[in-house]
């Protein structure tokens, strides 16, 4: 049997959270609205209607492109992409083809570089609703700004894909705040393309695309399934042709949607209703992005003296990272940063309470009373008795169980005590 090397690329569609739609003034937030209540001549594609681009959506796209290390194009424009489908009212989608807003970016994950081919902007389509032998069209979603991020086929396994997607999710939702990135609502849609090559670093001569998956877990499953499926086919000397496939969430398998022999020719041409854009280098330099996750990790480690795991965890939760940054300005002594980070990471406080009381708690943690309450031993035993499952978990090596128990204990005995001391006592007791 031959050895095969998976070659995987990814297209991700993300709905932007702008106030209005991409080319009209209708509200972009269509979730749970009455069907066809957020529509106008433009997003219904009525005769005579014309698109006027949403500046904010363009700015958001450029922000994402910049955050993904892309080159921002000085000249950019929209194009028409033609196909017929009932949810596409104009018979074409306004998208970008030859001059997207961003090209040639990269993201580093697990010390592996994933290169980004393009970042472009387009409009979402309406939604078909199949009910009682009839199909209805809801145009509320029609014209919602849709960002598309396309990677080169740089992935060779599904774990890296999942990691990339998680990174992207944190980036657009928390750091750039340009999308609600709500997976259940379909505001982030994922399309991996998978093929197997017999030569490492070379592309296969076919490509299988899996369309419209809305969970990271399912993307991983779809990729793993495809790798197996294709391996089997290749091993039995079958030729694989280009295909577009769907993913069945119940069976966890992919299924044929259409073979690419019937591939559509989208007849792209420049959208004549929207003048092309020209951005000066100055315009593009003015596009500001916040500190990015990897920059934050670097700063937390190098300047704030956190350990790498802490920095990594904090970088994935911007609320916590920000709380950390805010708290440490109150303490001149960086040696306490690790402790502060631990307190934040282990959820020993809630970030939704007012800052002054959080600060007070932290101070208590950092300068604890060493005197333990009289009934401390009784309390600790009680906690252990009442939380069997957690105790078992701890014994089988789950560190999170320890923090769960510690939290419970602190709730009882008050948390203005020396947490380290209490933690050690708890461990001692647990190991008895």
């Amino acid at each position: 049997m031959k050895k095969y090397y998976p070659v995987i690329g990814l297209e991700v569609h993300i709905e932007l959270n702008t106030k209005s739609k991409m080319f009209c003034q209708c509200l972009a937030d269509y979730f749970e609205k009455k069907p066809n209540s957020e529509v106008c001549p433009v997003c219904l594609g009525l005769p005579g209607a014309l698109p006027v681009p949403n500046k904010k959506a363009i700015e958001y796209t450029q922000i994402v492109a910049k955050a993904l290390g892309c080159k921002l194009n000085n000249k950019s424009r929209f194009d028409r992409k033609h196909y017929f489908y009932p949810d596409l009212p104009k018979g074409y989608q306004i998208s970008q083809y030859e001059q997207p807003f961003g090209i040639e970016g990269q993201v580093t994950l697990n010390n592996k570089v994933i290169t980004i081919k393009r970042v472009h902007l387009e409009e979402d389509t309406g939604k078909l609703i199949h009910k009682a032998n009839a199909t209805y069209i809801d145009f509320n979603r029609s014209g919602v700004p849709l960002l598309e991020i396309v990677t080169n086929p740089d992935f060779d396994n599904s774990d890296d894909v999942k990691e990339y997607l998680e990174y992207l999710h944190v980036l657009v939702k928390q750091y750039l705040k340009i999308s609600n990135a709500n997976m259940e609502q379909g505001s982030m849609r994922l399309e991996p393309n998978i093929s197997l090559s017999t030569v490492k670093g070379k592309l296969a001569d076919y490509k299988i695309e899996v369309k419209n998956i809305n969970s990271f877990k399912y993307v991983k499953k779809a990729i793993d399934y495809e790798i197996q499926r294709q391996e089997k086919l290749l091993n039995s000397n079958q030729v694989i042709k280009n295909e577009t496939r769907g993913f069945n969430e119940n069976k966890k398998i992919t299924f044929l949607q259409r073979s690419k022999e019937e591939a559509k020719d989208y007849r792209y041409f420049p959208e004549p209703d929207i003048p092309p854009f020209e951005f000066t280098d100055r315009d593009l330099a003015l596009i500001k992005i916040p500190e990015l996750p990897y920059e934050k990790i670097k700063r937390f480690v190098e300047t704030e003296k956190l350990n790498i795991d802490q920095a990594f965890i904090l970088s994935k939760n911007l609320n916590k990272a920000d709380l950390f940054d805010k708290l440490i300005t109150n303490f001149s002594d960086k040696s306490k940063n690790v402790k502060i980070a631990n307190i934040i990471i282990n959820k020993l406080l809630h970030s939704d309470v007012i800052f002054s009381s959080i600060l007070k708690k932290i101070e208590n943690y950092l300068n604890p009373k060493t005197l333990l309450p009289k009934n401390f031993q009784i309390q600790i035993k009680e906690i252990i008795e009442l939380n069997h499952k957690a105790v078992e978990d701890f014994k089988s090596g789950k560190e999170s169980a320890l923090f769960f128990l510690l939290g419970k204990l602190l709730q009882k005995v008050g948390n203005n005590l020396d947490v380290e001391q209490i933690k050690n006592l708890l461990i001692k007791e647990l190991k008895k």
Binding site: P47, L50, R267, D273, I274, P275
Partner: protein, 454 residues
């Protein structure tokens, strides 16, 4: 009071001085419209019970609650829920819709013969075409069924029917007037404009309808001048004339064109020979770009909405969809669409260079006077050939006006056109206005009105 033949601005001044009410004026034209429409088939819809100053719109301008068909069966029963920006602006100024004028279906043609509701007739000779695609719009003005009408031009669709009908037709700079609510034909070319009896009426209407529209991203932001005033400044111009625009032109048209040149000279304008790219190149460029855009713009009429389904498309639209689809198809898009765009750039630059040395260009509007109905079936690309003298300036997005300059041997009107720099409608109309004052367009239209008594 004798109203017949009064210009729009004269009617408005009568209304303003309370000698007449707008309703009286409206009803006067309503009566004439009802009387002669059977004969001319110039309107597809006539609206009664209105109280404003009457105006007619080509039936590709969306009018709220008034049927808008683009003269196609596909939209036979389509009632739009909104007004085109041009319509909205005029209604706000006290105008009322008197009617929706006939046209080539989807504006595909130069004779109104591709209308799915029958061709309009030329008021000069009802066995002939009034031109097109805004043929109904030129016909209602020439027969005085409406004092002024709004048309649209992609390449020639205002100027050519105005020339064939003996009236004034203004095609503004692309983007000067909003396209919002105008059923799209060639989106990179479509320009709403005015058909009237006089240049002053065109200037008056353009002052109302021009300007940036937040609903049209291609509308231009430059301030709108007061055209009615600026056309009255007595300016002297350097007028360019080009040999390339005289190939295969009917002798009577040539003769009248040269007569006009002499008049301009006598008035103190300078005539200068210039060299322009042969208009026949524009025929190919225009055809390719326009067909590509047509095939795209008509995609929305997919049979799911708007009433009738795709089997209601007639032959011309189907031909254009097929040709446009072809020119955008992979493997051909470079050879056709992209090459056409390159030549388009050359044509734009050619005009730019020419305008370094001249203010305006003077040329015949059409190679022929009005043809007999049915002639168009003899030629493929009939429209493109008829409009070849308008296509170069349309491709370049330039403003132009066609004005009557006399009659040919068979008593059919002849038009000449004045083409200006981008956004220089002022000079275009200024020179046209000077010519009108000097010649009164030789009184030809007053003669025609005799055939259409109240």
């Amino acid at each position: 009071m004798e109203l017949k033949g009064k210009k729009l601005i004269e009617l408005i001044s009568l209304i303003n001085s309370k000698q007449l009410s707008a309703t009286e004026v409206f009803n006067y034209f309503l009566k004439r419209s009802n009387k002669y429409n059977k004969q001319l088939n110039a309107y597809l819809t006539i609206c009664d019970n209105q109280t404003g100053i009457p105006i007619a719109f080509k039936d590709n301008f969306l009018t709220r609650n008034i049927r808008t068909t683009a003269a196609s069966r596909v939209l036979e029963h389509y009632i739009p829920p909104y007004n085109a920006t041009v319509v909205e602006k005029l209604l706000n100024k006290g105008f009322s819709v008197l009617g929706k004028t006939n046209m080539d279906a989807w504006a595909h043609g130069s004779s109104t013969e591709t209308s799915d509701f029958g061709s309009s007739k030329n008021p000069w000779d009802i066995t002939r075409s009034p031109g097109g695609s805004s043929g109904g719009a030129s016909s209602v003005v020439a027969s005085y069924l409406c004092p002024v009408s709004i048309g649209s031009e992609t390449a020639g669709s205002i100027r050519q029917p105005s020339a064939w009908s003996g009236v004034v037709g203004l095609k503004p700079t692309y983007g000067r007037v909003s396209r919002y609510g105008v059923i799209a034909m060639g989106s990179s070319l479509d320009s709403p404009g005015v058909i009237a009896l006089s240049v002053e009426d065109c200037a008056y209407i353009l002052s109302i309808i021009a300007g940036k529209d937040k609903y049209d991203a291609t509308s231009l932001t430059e301030d709108v001048p007061n055209y009615s005033e600026s056309i009255k400044k007595n300016k002297k111009y350097v007028i360019g004339i080009s040999e390339e625009y005289l190939k295969d032109i009917e002798p009577d048209i040539k003769k009248n064109y040269f007569k006009a040149i002499e008049i301009f000279k006598k008035m103190g304008h300078k005539i200068k020979k210039i060299k322009l790219i042969d208009p026949s190149y524009s025929v190919s460029v225009y055809t390719i770009i326009q067909r590509a855009e047509v095939s795209s713009n008509l995609s929305r009429y997919d049979g799911l909405r708007f009433g009738n389904n795709r089997s209601s498309f007639s032959e011309e639209a189907k031909k254009r969809i097929i040709l446009g689809t072809f020119t955008l198809t992979q493997g051909y898009v470079d050879e056709y669409y992209k090459k056409a765009q390159k030549i388009r750039t050359l044509i734009i630059n050619n005009f730019k260079q020419a305008f370094n040395n001249i203010d305006l260009i003077l040329a015949p509007t059409t190679p022929n006077t009005a043809l007999k109905l049915g002639e168009f079936q003899k030629y493929s690309f009939f429209g493109e050939l008829m409009d070849r003298l308008n296509e170069p300036s349309s491709i370049a997005g330039l403003p132009g006006i066609s004005i009557p300059v006399g009659l040919d041997k068979t008593k059919l009107p002849i038009g000449i056109q004045i083409i200006g720099k981008k956004l220089d409608e002022e000079s275009v109309m200024n020179l046209a206005y000077q010519f009108e004052k000097e010649t009164n367009f030789f009184g030809i239209i007053k003669e025609l009105f005799k055939k259409y008594p109240d």
